[in-house]
C-alpha cells in the first residue's frame, strides 16, 4: 500500500516538473524572441545627428520671409531649393563629401523649421540633421573601415550627437534606411484594421446570433456550421487569391488600398468571430432566457437585452483572437498588391497603402545593412501595437464581464 502511495506522489511530482518545464520552455522561446528583437531593434530608435550650420543670407536659397506668411507659403517652400542649400552648407563645413554625410531627407527637417519660424532666414542657424545611412552604420559600429575612421574623426570634433529617432515613428518608407519611418505602414495597418473590424464584427456577431437563436435545426444549418468551421482553418493566402479575383479583377476596387485589404481580412476574420460568438451565446444559461421570456420579453428583447450582454466577453475574446491574426497577416495582402513602395502615408481607405507586416517583409528583403535594425524596430512597433490592441480588448472584456 505504501509503495502505491509513494508511486503516486512520485508521478504527481513528475507531472508538476513536466508542466513547469513546458512553461519554462515556452517562456524561454518568448524571452529569446523579445531579447533578440530588442537587441536588434532598439538601435533603430536611436538617431545619429550631425551639426550643420546654414548661413541663409549667404546661401543660394532665394526665399523671402514675407512670402512664407499667407497663402503662397506652401508653393514658395516647394519651389525653393532647400535641399541644395543644405548640401552647400554641409560641403562648406565638412569638405567635398559633406553632402554624403547628411541624410537624403535631412533637408525636410530644415524645411519644416523654416515653415515654423520664417525669421531664421535672416541669419545663420545651426541644425542637428540626421546623418546618412553609412554614417549611421558607422555610429553603430557596422560600417567599412574608411567610413568608421571618418566617423571617429567627426565624433572627436564634437559634431556628432545622438537622439531619439522620432522620424522613425513619423516618417514613411524611404530608400535610405536612416530616413525610413514606420508611420505610413502604421497608418495603413490602422485603416485596414478599422475596415476589417467594421465589416467582420457586426456580420460575425449577427450571424452567430441568428445561427444560435433563430435558425431551425436542420441539415442546412448543419451544413452552414460545418462550412464556417472549415473557413476558419483555410490558409490565409487563399483569401488573398479570393481578394485578387473578386475585389480587384471583378469589382475593380483600387489596388493596394486599405479597403481591399480590409475586405479580404474581414472575410478571414469573420468565421473566427462567428465560432467564438456561437460558443459564447451557447454558454449563456437557459435560465436567463427563460426568466426574460417569463416576464414577457419578445425574442428580440431576450437576445439584445440579456443574451448579448452576457455573451459579450466571449465574443470580444474571439474578436481579439481574430483581429490579432488579421493584424499579422502578410500573404493575402501581398496578393492584393500591398507590397508597393509607398513613400507617403495613405490619406484614406481608398488610397494605396501598406501594412506593418508587409513593411517588415519588404525591409527584411533590402540589401542595405541599415535595414536590419529598422526591421527589428518595426517588429517592436508591431508587437507594441498588438499589445495595445489586446490590452484594449481585455479591458473592454473585463468591463462587460458579469457573473450570472
Amino acid at each position: 500500500m505504501r509503495k502505491r502511495i509513494a508511486r503516486r506522489y512520485r508521478s504527481e511530482r513528475r507531472f508538476r516538473w513536466v508542466g513547469f518545464a513546458a512553461i519554462a520552455t515556452s517562456v524561454g522561446f518568448l524571452a529569446f524572441l523579445l531579447i533578440t528583437m530588442m537587441g536588434n531593434g532598439l538601435a533603430g530608435f536611436v538617431e545619429t545627428r550631425i551639426a550643420v550650420a546654414v548661413d541663409f543670407p549667404k546661401s543660394s536659397l532665394f526665399l523671402d520671409p514675407a512670402a512664407l506668411t499667407g497663402a503662397g507659403a506652401q508653393a514658395a517652400l516647394a519651389t525653393a531649393d532647400i535641399e541644395g542649400a543644405v548640401a552647400e552648407a554641409a560641403i562648406a563645413q565638412y569638405g567635398p563629401d559633406g553632402a554624403d554625410l547628411v541624410s537624403e531627407a535631412a533637408w525636410l527637417r530644415v524645411r519644416d523649421a523654416i515653415a515654423d519660424d520664417p525669421d531664421m532666414l535672416q541669419g545663420r542657424k545651426s541644425f542637428s540633421l540626421p546623418v546618412s545611412g553609412d554614417l549611421d552604420l558607422a555610429a553603430k559600429g557596422d560600417a567599412p573601415p574608411p567610413v568608421e575612421a571618418r566617423f571617429a574623426k567627426l565624433k572627436a570634433d564634437g559634431s556628432i550627437s545622438r537622439g531619439f529617432n522620432l522620424g522613425f515613428l513619423t516618417g514613411s518608407d524611404a530608400t535610405d534606411p536612416a530616413a525610413v519611418g514606420i508611420w505610413g505602414a502604421f497608418k495603413g495597418s490602422l485603416l485596414t484594421m478599422i475596415v476589417t473590424i467594421v465589416l467582420a464584427f457586426p456580420i460575425g456577431v449577427f450571424s452567430a446570433l441568428y445561427l444560435e437563436e433563430y435558425a431551425p435545426r436542420n441539415r442546412w444549418t448543419d451544413l452552414i456550421e460545418v462550412s464556417i468551421n472549415n473557413l476558419a482553418a483555410v490558409p490565409s493566402i487563399i483569401f488573398g487569391l479570393l481578394g485578387l479575383a473578386v475585389f480587384l479583377n471583378f469589382m475593380h476596387l483600387p489596388r493596394s488600398a486599405p479597403i481591399v485589404g480590409g475586405l479580404t481580412l474581414a472575410l478571414m476574420t469573420m468565421p473566427v468571430i462567428v465560432i467564438a460568438g456561437r460558443n459564447a451565446i451557447k454558454s449563456v444559461p437557459p435560465s436567463v432566457r427563460d426568466a426574460a421570456l417569463g416576464v414577457g420579453a419578445s425574442p428580440v428583447q431576450v437576445v439584445f437585452h440579456h443574451v448579448l450582454p452576457l455573451a459579450l466577453p466571449g465574443i470580444l475574446t474571439g474578436t481579439i483572437i481574430g483581429m490579432a491574426r488579421a493584424l499579422g497577416e502578410t500573404a493575402p495582402l501581398l496578393m492584393i498588391g500591398m507590397r508597393a513602395f509607398i513613400a507617403t502615408p495613405p490619406g484614406g481607405i481608398s488610397e494605396p497603402a501598406t501594412v506593418l507586416p508587409v513593411q517588415i517583409f519588404l525591409w527584411s528583403d533590402e540589401v542595405s545593412h541599415g535595414f536590419i535594425e529598422k526591421t527589428s524596430a518595426a517588429i517592436i512597433v508591431l508587437l507594441v501595437f498588438l499589445l495595445a490592441m489586446n490590452g484594449l480588448a481585455i479591458y473592454l472584456r473585463n468591463k462587460f464581464e458579469r457573473t450570472w
Binding site: 431551425p216 435545426r217 435560465s287 436567463v288 432566457r289 427563460d290 426568466a291 426574460a292 421570456l293 417569463g294 416576464v295 414577457g296 420579453a297 419578445s298 428583447q301 437585452h305 440579456h306 452576457l310 458579469r402 457573473t403 450570472w404
Partner: protein, 276 residues
C-alpha cells in the same frame, strides 16, 4: 378509478357544503383534452382542468409525470422547445391562448412564471423588477416606475430588506431573497396568473416558509398554480390539488379531501408513500 369529468361534477356538492379553505371559484384558465408531445414521446395525456383565481392550485406527482410540462403549457413556454407539440384547448378568460389571435409575448405578461432555481437578471435589484414594466410600457415616467418597483417588492415581502440597496446586483442576494425578487419581478407586470415551478425546492426551510406565506398573501389577487414534489407543501399552500402520473391527471379535488381521503388508489399510494 374516477373519471376526471366525474370529479369535476362532484365539485358541486363540495361547494354547497362550503368547505373550509376553498371558495366558490371563478374560472380563470380552462384546459380541455390537453396533450403534449416531445417528438414521439407523449409527456401529457389528455388532461382537463380548471384554474380559478380564488384557490391556489397545486400539481403533485412523481418526477417525470408531466406536471411541469403541463404547467409550461399554461404560458406557452414549451414553444421554446422545438420538438414540443401541443394538442387540445387552453383558454385564458375564454380566449384560446394557442389561437392565432393571441400574442405570445402579451400572454406571458398576463401569465407570469417563477422558476425552480432563482434566476434574477445579472442587473441591479431595481432593474430586475423594472425590466418588465419597462418593456411593456406600463409606467409613464420614472416616478411611476419607482412606485411600481416599490409596490412589487413590498408585495413580495422583500422591500424592507433591500430598500436601501436597490442598485446592488440581484445576484448578490441570498437564495431565498433571490426567489422573492423573482416573484417581485413576475408581479411587477401585473399578471393575472402566476405559475410557480417548484419555487422553494432550492431553498432552506425558513426561506421556504416565507415563500409559502407569500403565496398565501398573494392568493385571490392572482390565480396561482404551483408545481411541487413536496406533498406537505402542497397540503399547506393550496386549496385544490391535482395528482399527475405518467402524463395523466389521476385525481383533482379539494386539497383537504385529497390528503385525508383520496378517491383513487393510485393517489392514495403516492400520498401515503407506498408508491415505488
Amino acid at each position: 378509478m374516477r373519471d376526471v369529468q366525474q370529479t369535476l361534477e362532484m365539485e358541486a356538492p363540495a361547494e354547497a357544503r362550503a368547505e373550509v379553505g376553498a371558495q366558490a371559484p371563478s374560472l380563470k384558465m380552462k384546459a380541455r383534452n390537453v396533450s403534449v408531445w416531445y417528438g414521439v414521446k407523449k409527456a401529457v395525456d389528455n388532461v382537463s382542468i380548471d384554474i380559478s383565481t380564488e384557490n391556489v392550485t397545486a400539481f403533485i406527482g412523481p418526477s417525470g409525470c408531466g406536471k411541469s410540462t403541463f404547467l409550461r403549457t399554461l404560458n406557452r413556454m414549451n414553444d421554446t422547445i422545438p420538438s414540443a407539440r401541443f394538442e387540445g384547448l387552453m383558454e385564458l378568460d375564454g380566449e384560446d391562448i394557442y389561437g392565432s389571435a393571441m400574442d405570445v409575448v402579451q400572454l406571458r405578461a398576463r401569465v407570469g412564471m417563477v422558476f425552480q432555481k432563482p434566476n434574477p437578471f445579472p442587473k441591479s435589484i431595481f432593474e430586475n423588477v423594472a425590466y418588465g414594466p419597462r418593456i411593456h410600457g406600463l409606467a409613464k415616467d420614472r416616478t411611476e416606475l419607482d412606485e411600481m418597483v416599490e409596490r412589487s417588492l413590498k408585495r413580495a415581502g422583500l422591500w424592507d430588506e433591500v430598500k436601501d440597496r436597490l442598485s446592488e446586483s440581484g445576484t448578490a442576494l441570498s437564495g431565498g431573497q433571490q426567489q422573492r425578487l423573482c416573484i417581485a419581478r413576475a408581479i411587477a407586470v401585473d399578471p393575472e396568473v402566476i405559475l410557480m415551478d417548484e419555487p422553494a425546492s432550492a431553498l432552506d426551510p425558513i426561506a421556504t416558509a416565507r415563500i409559502e406565506e407569500l403565496i398565501h398573501e398573494l392568493r385571490g389577487r392572482y390565480a396561482i398554480v404551483i408545481v411541487t414534489h413536496n406533498m406537505q407543501q402542497a397540503a399547506r399552500v393550496s386549496q385544490r390539488t391535482a395528482f399527475f402520473h405518467l402524463g395523466e391527471l389521476i385525481e383533482y379535488g379539494e386539497t383537504s379531501q385529497i390528503f385525508t381521503n383520496p378517491g383513487v388508489p393510485r393517489t392514495k399510494d403516492y400520498i401515503t408513500g407506498r408508491y415505488g
